[in-house]
C-alpha cells in the first residue's frame, strides 16, 4: 500500500487542490467545471474500459440518467441538491444493473449495444408521453437549486472519489484481478477469479461516477434539454481523452483531458468545422501511431507510469 499512498499524495491531492484553488485565479468558471466533469468521465471510462476492456460507447447514458435523476427529485420532491445528486448516482447504478446483461456481449457487440442503450434512454426520457415526469423533449429548468459554487466543489469531491477509485484499482488485488480478466478471462477464471462479480462491480462503479457527474452537471447548468445531457459527445470525448492519455493508468486520462480538452478550448469555438477536422485527424493519428496512449511514450523507454 505504500504505492497507493504515494499515488494519493502526488496525483490525487495536487489535482484536487489545484482545481479547488483555480476559481480564485481564473475567471471562466464554466470552463473549469467542464474540465472537472470530463476528468470524472474520462476516469470513469478508464475504470470500465481500461481495467475490463469493455468499450462503453454509450457511456453518456449514465451521465444523462444521473442528470434526470437529479432533475426529477428536485422538480417533484423538492429535495436538497446534494441528496438529489446522490439519487442521480443511484439512478445511474440502477440503469447499470438493468444493463448488466450487456456484459455477456463481447467486443464491438458490447460497444454497439451500449450505444443503443444510451439512445434508448434518451428517447425514453425525451418522450412527450412522459412530459408529466421528465418534461419530455422540452427540457427542465431547476432555478431553485441553482448554485454553481457548491456544484463545482461537489464535482471536485466526485473527482476525488473517482481518482481514489482508480488508485485503488491500480494498487489492489481486485484491480489486478480485473486486468487479468481483461487479458484472458478463461485463465483468470481458472486462477479462481470470479469473473462475473468483478466485471459487474467495475461496471456499476463506472456507472455511479458518471451518474454523480450527471447530477452535478444538472445542478450546475440548471437548465437543459435531453439532447444536451445525452449528447454522444460526452461518451466520445471521455473515451478519446482516456485513450489519448493511456488507459489502465491513473495519470493517463488526466493528462489526456488536460491536453486535449485544453486544445479544444483554444481552437474550438471560432471555426467549429476546422476544429472538427483537426480533431478527427488527431484521433486517427492517435489510433494509428499511438494506440496505447501518451503514457506509452514513457513506458516504451522503461519508465514506470502510475
Amino acid at each position: 500500500m505504500r504505492d497507493a499512498s504515494k499515488h494519493l499524495l502526488f496525483i490525487l491531492a495536487p489535482l484536487v487542490v489545484v482545481f479547488a484553488l483555480l476559481p480564485g485565479a481564473y475567471q471562466n468558471h464554466l470552463l473549469l467545471f467542464n474540465f472537472v466533469i470530463f476528468l470524472i468521465l474520462a476516469q470513469g471510462v478508464n475504470i470500465i474500459y481500461g481495467f475490463t476492456g469493455y468499450l462503453p460507447f454509450g457511456y453518456v447514458g449514465f451521465f444523462g440518467a444521473g442528470a434526470y435523476g437529479f432533475a426529477v427529485m428536485v422538480m417533484h420532491l423538492q429535495t436538497p441538491a446534494l441528496l438529489a445528486v446522490l439519487v442521480g448516482g443511484l439512478v445511474a447504478v440502477a440503469l447499470g444493473l438493468l444493463l448488466t446483461p450487456l456484459l455477456r456481449l463481447s467486443g464491438a457487440y458490447f460497444a454497439i449495444a451500449n450505444l443503443a442503450a444510451s439512445l434508448a434512454v434518451l428517447h425514453f426520457v425525451a418522450n412527450p408521453a412522459l412530459e408529466g415526469i421528465t418534461k419530455g423533449p422540452y427540457g427542465v429548468s431547476l432555478t431553485g437549486t441553482f448554485n454553481p459554487t457548491n456544484a463545482y466543489y461537489a464535482a471536485i469531491a466526485v473527482l476525488a472519489l473517482t481518482v481514489g477509485g482508480v488508485v485503488y484499482l491500480k494498487n489492489s488485488p481486485f484491480g489486478l484481478a480485473l486486468q487479468a480478466v481483461r487479458e484472458d478471462s478463461v485463465s483468470a477464471s481458472m486462477a479462481g477469479v470470479n469473473i462475473v462479480k468483478m466485471r459487474v462491480i467495475a461496471w456499476l462503479g463506472s456507472a455511479l461516477v458518471a451518474g454523480l457527474a450527471g447530477g452535478i452537471y444538472a445542478w450546475y447548468v440548471s437548465v437543459f434539454y435531453p439532447d444536451n445531457v445525452f449528447s454522444s459527445e460526452f461518451s466520445i470525448f471521455a473515451i478519446v481523452f482516456a485513450l489519448f492519455g493511456g488507459v489502465a493508468t491513473i495519470t493517463g486520462p488526466i493528462v489526456g483531458v488536460l491536453i486535449l480538452y485544453g486544445i479544444y478550448n483554444l481552437i474550438g469555438f471560432t471555426t467549429p468545422q476546422y476544429f472538427q477536422l483537426i480533431y478527427g485527424l488527431l484521433i486517427m493519428g492517435l489510433v494509428l501511431f499511438l494506440p496505447a496512449g501518451l503514457v506509452s511514450l514513457a513506458t516504451r523507454r522503461g519508465w514506470h507510469v502510475p
Binding site: S106, I112, A117, L119, A120, H123, V287, P291
Partner: protein
C-alpha cells in the same frame, strides 16, 4: 395496415442496402466502420451534385457513386487498415479510428458545402423530385401520381429505391456465391487465420470487400434525400446508428442476413410509427438490445459469439 406493411417492406429493402456495406466490412475485416453513415451522406451529395450540375436523373449518380467509392475504399483500405490490424485490439480501436474518419469527412464536407447547405439542399431537392417525375412519369403513359401497390399509393422514389436495393442485394449475392473472389471473401469471413494459412491473399480480398462496402453505402446515399427528406453533412451519424440496428438485427458478419434484418426493421418501424408514434424513436433501440441479448448472432446467425 396494408399501407404500413408495404411501406415497411419498401423502406426495409432500402434499409438493407443501407446496412449491407457496413456488414460486409465487419464480416470480412472485423472492423466497425463508424464512418459508414458519412459514406451515405457523401453519396447523397454526389446525387445532389449530379442533378445540380448536369440536371439529369439522379439514378445516373448510382454507378458514378459506386465506382468513385470503390476506388476511394481501396485507397482508404491501404492507408488505414494494415496498420490497424497490427495493433493489439483492432476491433475496439477501429471504432475510434473510424469515428475520427467520420469527423474528418463531416468537417471537410461542411467546409466545402458550407454551413448554409440546408437552404441549398431544399431547393435542389425540389429539382430532384421534378427530374424524377419527368423521367419516370412524363416518359411513361400518363400517370404522374404515386405508384399503386395493393390498392395503396406510394411515392415513386420509395419504389425506385426499393427496386435498386433489391438489384444491389442480388448482385452482392452473386458476387459472394458465384465468383472466385466472392468465395475467397466468404473463406476469410469464416476463418481469417485459416484463409491466410491456405495462401489466400487476405489483404486483396479485404480491400475488395472494403471498396464494395463503401460503394454500396454510397449507392444507398444517392437515395437518402428521397427517403429521409433532406441531407446535411451532420446526417452521417444518425445513418450510422440506423445501419447498426439493421445489421445487428440481421446478423453481424452475414451480409445476406442484413436483407432480412432491413425488412424486419422497416416493417417494424412503419408499424410502430403508425400505431405508437410517440414511442417510434425508442423501440428500434430496444429491439436492437433485445435481439443482441436473446440472440446475439442475429436472426440468421450461425455461431453465437459471446464472452
Amino acid at each position: 395496415m396494408t399501407y404500413a406493411l408495404v411501406a415497411g417492406v419498401l423502406f426495409g429493402l432500402y434499409f438493407s442496402l443501407v446496412g449491407i456495406g457496413l456488414n460486409l466490412v465487419f464480416g470480412v475485416m472485423r472492423i466497425v466502420n463508424l464512418a459508414h453513415g458519412d459514406m451515405l451522406m457523401l453519396g447523397a451529395f454526389i446525387a445532389v451534385g449530379v442533378v445540380g450540375i448536369a440536371g439529369i436523373d439522379p439514378l445516373f449518380a448510382v454507378p458514378l457513386a459506386f465506382v468513385v467509392f470503390v476506388l476511394a475504399g481501396f485507397l482508404l483500405y491501404w492507408v488505414l487498415v494494415p496498420r490497424l490490424q497490427g495493433s493489439t485490439n483492432p476491433e475496439m480501436l477501429s471504432i475510434i479510428l473510424f469515428f475520427g474518419l467520420s469527423q474528418v469527412i463531416e468537417a471537410v464536407t461542411t467546409i466545402f458545402a458550407g454551413t448554409s447547405e440546408r437552404s441549398i439542399q431544399s431547393r435542389l431537392l425540389g429539382t430532384v423530385f421534378t427530374t424524377i417525375k419527368v423521367k419516370w412519369f412524363g416518359g411513361k403513359a400518363g400517370g404522374a401520381g404515386p405508384i399503386q401497390i395493393l390498392g395503396q399509393g406510394f411515392p415513386a422514389p420509395w419504389v425506385i429505391a426499393a427496386a435498386t436495393s433489391l438489384v444491389a442485394i442480388a448482385l452482392v449475392y452473386l458476387y459472394l456465391y458465384h465468383t472466385r473472389l466472392g468465395t475467397l471473401t466468404r473463406a476469410v469471413m469464416s476463418r481469417r487465420d485459416e484463409a491466410l494459412a491456405t495462401g489466400i491473399d487476405v489483404d486483396r480480398v479485404s480491400a475488395a470487400a472494403f471498396g464494395i462496402g463503401l460503394g454500396l453505402a454510397a449507392v444507398a446515399g444517392v437515395f437518402a434525400p428521397f427517403m429521409f427528406g433532406s441531407v446535411t453533412p451532420a446526417f452521417g451519424a444518425d445513418a450510422t446508428v440506423t445501419s447498426f440496428a439493421i445489421v445487428v438485427l440481421g446478423s453481424l458478419g452475414n451480409p445476406l442476413g442484413t436483407a432480412l434484418g432491413g425488412i424486419v426493421y422497416g416493417v417494424f418501424y412503419m408499424l410502430v410509427q403508425t400505431y405508437l408514434s410517440s414511442w417510434a424513436d425508442l423501440l428500434p433501440y430496444v429491439l436492437l438490445i433485445l435481439i443482441l441479448l436473446l440472440r446475439p448472432s442475429g436472426l440468421l446467425g450461425r455461431r453465437v459469439r459471446v464472452a
